[in-house]
């Protein structure tokens, strides 16, 4: 059974799109990430034009992150001031990302830039998470006590001026690295069509030493705001938001996310981080293989304009 997408202007198999929403929703619920880094490539693989895929994943992620953020808000696991400071950097980063995307399109290297960025980013973060989680798993196996947070050990970037206290996260750091992280997330989101949760959560945990649960909740709030804004921006600027596609993805996604969250809560945090690291690395490697392997067709065709 197919459904015709009015903006993408092509028919897709409705159940496979629904299943994609379900599967990615499960993963995002389990790990507390938006899932854009999986969904966008999946949609492009299905034949949806990249511009429509990137734009229609935004409302999908707004829906799933809102659903998740509500749960974390109720449990008091969201650091709203931290989310606010991150957002300042995020909005500037989004603007810079849109301009960068335009420039890459002009020189025809969007494809390469996206693939390289995916490879480097996912490869590094995936490896870091794997190494860290394997260490943590070994420690628990040995029966050793988990490493206690030592408030004194601050990296150099946390001692920069403009210090702020984020009570909920129990950190006292300079606002500069926080805005910087937000900027990077905004930039990557605009160029790669990802919410950035899979980068933001580890960045908050490892760089700013925010507790894991608070990082996930705060990251969800940030994703919610940026993706809702991205939906409106994409609709206004490019007219590429496909409401039908987004709606089918959302239904699957919100259902999958609930099951994912339940599964995730039964697992040890370090095992969870290990699995997410594995997944992130696998996606990164997959993209890298395409970049290095001899392509089956040396030519690609992109549509610039259809006259009506």
């Amino acid at each position: 059974m197919t459904i015709y997408l009015p903006i993408a202007e092509l028919p897709v198999a409705i159940f496979s799109v629904f299943a994609m929403g379900l599967a990615v929703g499960f993963i995002s619920g389990m790990f507390g990430v938006g899932g854009g880094f999986l969904m966008t490539p999946l949609l492009i693989f299905t034949g949806v034009p990249p511009t429509v895929a990137v734009a229609s994943v935004s409302p999908y992620m707004a829906a799933s992150s809102f659903s998740g953020a509500l749960s974390y808000l109720r449990k008091g696991m969201v650091d709203l001031p931290l989310a606010g400071v991150l957002l300042i950097g995020g909005l500037v980063g989004t603007l810079a990302g849109v301009l960068l995307f335009l420039w890459l399109r002009i020189i025809g290297q969007v494809d390469l830039a996206i693939r390289l960025a995916y490879t480097v980013l996912l490869g590094t973060i995936g490896t870091m998470m794997l190494v860290e989680s394997v260490r943590a798993i070994r420690r628990t196996r040995r029966g050793a006590a988990p490493v206690v947070r030592r408030p004194g050990t601050h990296a150099w970037f946390m001692r920069l001026p403009l210090k702020m206290r984020f009570r909920r996260s129990r950190i006292y750091v300079s606002a500069i690295p926080v805005v910087g992280i937000g900027f990077m997330i905004g930039l990557l989101g605009a160029v790669l069509g990802v919410g950035g949760g899979f980068i933001l959560v580890p960045a908050l945990i490892y760089l700013l030493r925010v507790p894991t649960t608070t990082s996930v909740g705060t990251s969800l709030v940030l994703t919610l705001v940026t993706m809702a804004a991205a939906t409106v921006l994409h609709a206004e600027a490019n007219g590429t938001v496909d409401a039908v596609l987004a709606f089918v993805l959302m239904i699957g996604g919100t259902m999958g996310a609930q099951f994912g969250a339940r599964t995730g809560q039964t697992m040890r945090p370090e095992n969870l981080r290990f699995l997410l690291g594995l997944l992130v690395l696998a996606v990164g490697l997959r993209v890298a293989v395409d970049l290095v392997r001899h392509p089956s067709d040396l030519y690609v065709l992109t549509t610039i304009e259809v006259r009506r």
Partner: protein, 280 residues
């Protein structure tokens, strides 16, 4: 296969079947009407009918199949029974679109887009059907000037500062035809036109679901003795209708409002999802 059997096989698309019968009836009446005109035609004539003048895209649309019926009137067929039989070429050209074709090459171990060629205002859909290979119908010069066949259809390209078509063996041009062909957007069938009677022909072509909406021109050419002796151009439209149309119009006319509506809708769905599965 005869038309009724073909229509029955495609019966699940009832609209198509209805259109097909309308076209068949139209063609039959045309065939009857023509000789009734009295005098023998002095020049070759062509009468063409398309099964569906408007193809409507609804939410279940996954492509369409159209039938072209026609009557080829050959001048002096009655007085000279041994006159050359007519050849028919049907060319369907979709809305104009512009494309960039990129060629990858290896730079520092990575495959990157290195050269490009822009195709300007070329058909987004192109189907060429004939009753026999077009190369057997006429000389290369005639085929080229009449743009008969995929390899001879003019595809305007920007080559450096110039705008021109290139030789058919050009690698970019061939890649363009190959990729469009793999998407079922370009096709060529040298046996696509069948004669139901000595003068009545039909052909069928499939439009894939991803073909763009807009106006499609159907150009029919009658060739005899290596020359085009009659031609006829009809057209049909592919349009969105109902819900699909409303969404598309909304997103175009009130882009900002549409974006806000989708964003709010996604928040509502997120809220409902959270509410339904909330664990107390």
């Amino acid at each position: 296969m005869t038309p009724p059997v073909r229509a029955a096989a495609a019966g699940r698309r009832s609209g198509r079947m209805r259109g097909l019968w309308t076209a068949a009836l139209a063609a039959a009446s045309l065939a009857l009407a023509l000789p009734a005109g009295g005098a023998e035609p002095e020049r070759d004539r062509l009468v063409v009918s398309i099964s569906e003048p408007v193809v409507r895209i609804t939410s279940t649309f996954s492509g369409a199949s159209l039938v072209v019926f026609g009557v080829a009137e050959v001048a002096g067929a009655d007085t000279a029974p041994d006159a050359a039989p007519p050849d028919i070429v049907v060319t369907v050209r979709g809305p104009q679109a512009s494309y960039v074709a990129w060629r990858k090459s290896r730079v520092a171990g990575l495959w990157v887009n290195s050269d490009s060629r822009t195709f300007l205002d070329v058909p987004a859909f192109l189907s060429v059907q004939s009753n026999r290979p077009v190369e057997d119908m006429a000389s290369p010069e005639v085929l080229r000037t009449e743009q008969i066949g995929l390899s001879r259809n003019v595809l305007l390209q920007r080559v450096g500062p110039d705008f021109a078509d290139v030789v058919p063996t050009d690698s970019f041009r061939q890649a363009f035809l190959r990729i469009q062909g793999s998407e079922d957007l370009y096709e060529e069938n040298p046996r696509g036109v069948t004669f139901l009677a000595p003068r009545v022909f039909r052909t069928e072509f499939d439009i894939p679901g991803r073909a763009p909406i807009g106006r499609y021109d159907v150009s029919v050419k009658l060739l005899r003795n290596g020359q085009v002796t009659a031609q006829s151009t009809e057209h049909f439209e592919i349009i969105k209708s109902g819900f699909e149309q409303n969404i598309a119009i909304f997103s175009q006319n009130d882009a900002l409002l549409y974006g806000i509506a989708v964003a709010i809708g996604s928040l509502i769905i997120g809220f409902i999802g959270n509410f339904l599965f909330r664990r107390e």
